[in-house]
Symmetry: C3
Subunit: 206 residues, 3 copies
């Protein structure tokens, strides 16, 4: 790595740390939702919405800091991209939960819980990695692990979609469940896009 002084901006790293922790809280709620009896779902989704609002707040603080700082620890556009992509993950987790309640989905496939487990594992990896942007160390293994988890989510998604279309369920049920599964799969993709944004930062510094 070329020797280069990065201005110390503790607050940027703190804000990304907070953003990472929000992802973990949201993923735990998705996990809870996947097992919750229908009567308790609305309450879980309400808490998911609160985490999503907390995430919006962190994003706005990061963007405000980018816009008002004379120097930033890495390129402004990369900070912006990273914050936006973390935001996308929270939006998608909240949207998936919201759809379960709005469509009053009965009978999510059992493997939905496994997808939720994968989302939680990838969120934990992300929350662990974001504070390491300070030292730029150990980020390669994070990127590899999130990619592996995304492949796992994709495999589960494909199994469930295949089963769903073969199930003989009526078309309206298929539409509802498919939209929930599509959104969870998009959340797994979005976690991979966060890791890609981290890689972009690492590539410039190395």
């Amino acid at each position: 790595m070329a020797f280069r002084l990065r201005p110390q901006e503790p607050e940027f790293y703190d804000l990304f740390g907070e953003a990472g922790r929000n992802l973990v809280v949201a993923a735990r709620l998705v996990q809870e939702l996947a097992s919750a009896p229908p009567a308790e779902r609305a309450g879980v989704v309400e808490r998911l919405r609160e985490v999503e609002h907390a995430g919006d707040d962190v994003t706005h603080r990061i963007l405000k800091k980018v816009n008002t700082s004379f120097v930033t620890p890495f390129d402004r556009e990369d900070i912006y991209a990273l914050a936006s992509r973390i935001d996308d993950v929270l939006d998608l987790m909240e949207e998936a939960g919201d759809r379960v309640v709005l469509y009053d989905v009965d009978g999510l496939p059992a493997k939905t819980r496994e997808v939720a487990d994968v989302l939680l594992a990838a969120s934990e990896q992300t929350a662990d990695a974001l504070p390491r942007l300070r030292s730029m160390k150990g980020l390669e293994s994070y990127w590899i692990e999130v990619n592996r988890l995304e492949n796992e989510a994709d495999r589960l998604y494909r199994d469930m979609i295949g089963d769903l279309f073969r199930s003989g369920a009526d078309a309206l049920h298929v539409m509802k469940v498919k939209e929930v599964l599509d959104t969870l799969e998009a959340a797994a993709d979005a976690l991979e896009h966060v890791a890609d944004a981290v890689q972009t930062v690492v590539a410039k510094e190395s």
Copy 2:
């Protein structure tokens, strides 16, 4: 606000003014479409397509001006983002109209007209706000009002989707209507994204 000279570039503000007025014209056509008898819909959508083309033309003129100007009144990337997001709104309004005709949708929910009213109100707010980029005044209230309107559109959307799935209508009808409603809801979101892009400009200048 820090004292800072912004280069006077009247044409940029004029072009954004024109872009704002296109939004209002398009929203009025969406409103007209929501009440039009089926036989008249194709004509309304044709006019919507013309407005969308006029919008493309304004966007190209803005981008060309960004690319050939030595100084710009605010950051190039923010001008680009703002123009693109206005373009997205027009695209989505046109797409919603287009879907109504292409799918030959019969029986749009009555509340579609209320969504069209909300889109028109948000478009008028935007058209009023864009010329105020020159003075950077009164933009906070615009942002708040568009956010309020987006929440209102979202509430209407959710009511209609809930009703649609409970209606006992056949799945093909649900698919068609849902896609039109999804696109109108995306247009309301896109108007909020325009307001967010305006806020980014305001945050840098204040």
Copy 3:
């Protein structure tokens, strides 16, 4: 055109040339898939996935080169945008193929082959145009031709969707076929977005 020295960076143009050739290979596989008997589809999609991975690799090499080069032949953000948009085309072609196999679609409309022909023609135009970024010559006719082809793809799409909804087919079949057609139409749009990104570069240099 204002006289301006562009640094000679042969490898950038070579990489975009390679990216263009990948598009043509992928489009040929989409064409093959549109006529393949069901038993042979999975093999075609496997090859499509390999091309998509090869495309990812080219994109990463372009981004790495952007990040580590002191000078670039045109603006970094434009190189980034162009590489990303080419990537989007490959993703969508692969996704369309994947959906055909995952949903086990029987009876794609006959016009799907015509859409595949249009995608191949637009991909060939793109592969021809990308190396011309070096001289910046003959790119206007490319942009016009890709726009014409996108309109042709759109016309075919609309015909097929209209037919599909009027066909009396069951809703699950409509859902499956519509998603494949939507994805192919998005691939044609994405080829137009590549041409738009090329135009942005041309506009800055002229």
